[in-house]
């Protein structure tokens, strides 16, 4: 695919083109935090930031999502019959998404869309109608460890276009037909630009100091890791709150509930988290993951063993480091995985 140049003084024109028929979102600074918001001009968006505080997964998998509605009247011909909510009516562009977050969507594609039965139309619809324009990381944070879990600060997986900040301009790499359509009209890059981008990539990779080793985790059996003694220490300080799962770009557990209000009713799904004791509680009172240890172990086993076993080696972690930064008791996923690998 083609390599183009997007000059920084041409950004507004480029963004205008993007938001003509689509909703355009980008990271912005709000109350001292980096979050996502609709933008129309280049100066509204952030171009120099580490990453958004929360993962952008709620664009495809909102924390609260109405799935169906029904008329809450038994006896009415249409009463009590579930009708799916309409699909997204306008396509979207996410600008300046980080490569790790884009990679996470591809991991989630493997889970939300597996076959004819396991085929989440809510997820798929939004994925298909969204274009992802990535912004390569030239300055990874000390908590980033993407290169050790199969991702990269300049990674292209899951993106339609990757922008690399070359100082006075961006190198725009089209990665899909959708991306090609967006940047096709831009001037072509010169050999020197690509070489500079390659240098920046190498430098960025070099800045990632910490990381995880996975070789032994991969070769060990499920039960060997499950019974390992490390979990007794990992769980000790854990609060069993939902922070790590809610900020995580690949965590995707949810709960489905019905709500009624007079003659209206809806079925809605909300993010849920494996740290909650209620999550697996049976109606009979039996709980298969009844202790804090079971629940803490589940999160790490799910990401680093269960998903790889089931999804052809793909890891359920992209190394964004959000959980490391936000965990109220500083449970560091890098340490946990390295202990699993010890």
């Amino acid at each position: 695919m083609s390599q183009k140049i997007l000059a920084k003084n041409k950004l507004d024109a480029f963004l205008q083109g993007l938001c003509r028929d689509q909703d355009l979102f980008a990271p912005v600074m709000k109350d001292g935090k980096v979050g996502w918001a609709p933008v129309a001009t280049a100066d509204q968006a952030l171009w120099d930031f580490s990453n958004t505080e929360m993962s952008p997964k709620d664009f495809f998998f909102p924390q609260t999502e109405c799935m169906m509605r029904f008329k809450n009247v038994q006896g009415d011909p249409q009463g009590m019959i579930m009708q799916a909510e309409p699909a997204l009516n306008r396509p979207r562009v996410l600008l300046n998404i980080r490569p790790c977050d884009a990679k996470a969507f591809q991991v989630l594609d493997l889970i939300f869309v597996q076959d004819e039965m396991t085929n989440d139309l809510y997820w798929r619809d939004k994925r298909e109608k969204t274009t992802l324009i990535g912004l390569a990381c030239n300055d990874p944070c000390p908590t980033c460890f993407c290169t050790t879990v199969g991702s990269n600060p300049h990674g292209t997986t899951g993106l339609d276009v990757l922008l690399v900040d070359l100082g006075d301009k961006f190198l725009a790499q089209a990665l899909t037909a959708k991306g090609e359509a967006l940047v096709g009209d831009l001037p072509a890059a010169a050999g020197g630009d690509e070489a500079k981008a390659a240098e920046l990539k190498k430098a960025a990779e070099g800045k990632i100091s910490g990381g995880v080793a996975m070789d032994k985790v991969n070769s060990r059996e499920v039960m060997e890791l499950y019974d390992a003694p490390l979990w007794d220490r990992v769980m000790e300080s854990c609060l069993n709150c939902g922070t790590c799962t809610f900020c995580c770009p690949t965590c995707h557990c949810f709960d489905i509930q019905d709500e009624t209000q007079g003659q209206d009713g809806r079925r809605v799904r909300n993010w849920d988290y494996c740290m909650s004791w209620l999550f697996t509680m049976h109606g009979t009172g039996h709980n298969p993951r009844g202790t804090k240890k079971d629940r803490v172990r589940q999160r790490f086993m799910h990401k680093f063993k269960y998903i790889p076993v089931k999804r052809g080696g793909e890891i359920g972690c992209v190394g964004c480091g959000r959980c490391v930064r936000l965990c109220p008791v500083n449970i560091d996923v890098r340490q946990v995985v390295n202990d699993m690998n010890a």
Partner: protein, 65 residues
């Protein structure tokens, strides 16, 4: 009597977050005070009526979510 302390704190808290004081009422009525009951119902209804329909704390599931 224990409830009284709880109600006091709760009433203050709800007022504090912006629920109009007139929306929440407490009263003591003994089972013999039918007239006080009648009067209190009327007073409570008047107070709430004066405030108009509630605006806060209502969960509206018809909204898009």
């Amino acid at each position: 009597m224990f409830a009284r302390r709880r109600f006091a704190v709760l009433k203050n808290l709800l007022e504090y977050v912006g629920i109009e004081p007139g929306r929440l009422h407490f009263s003591w009525i003994s089972s013999a005070e039918a007239e006080k009951f009648q009067k209190t119902v009327a007073a409570v209804t008047e107070d709430v009526k004066a405030l108009g329909p509630a605006q806060h704390m209502i969960k509206d599931i018809r909204k898009v979510a």
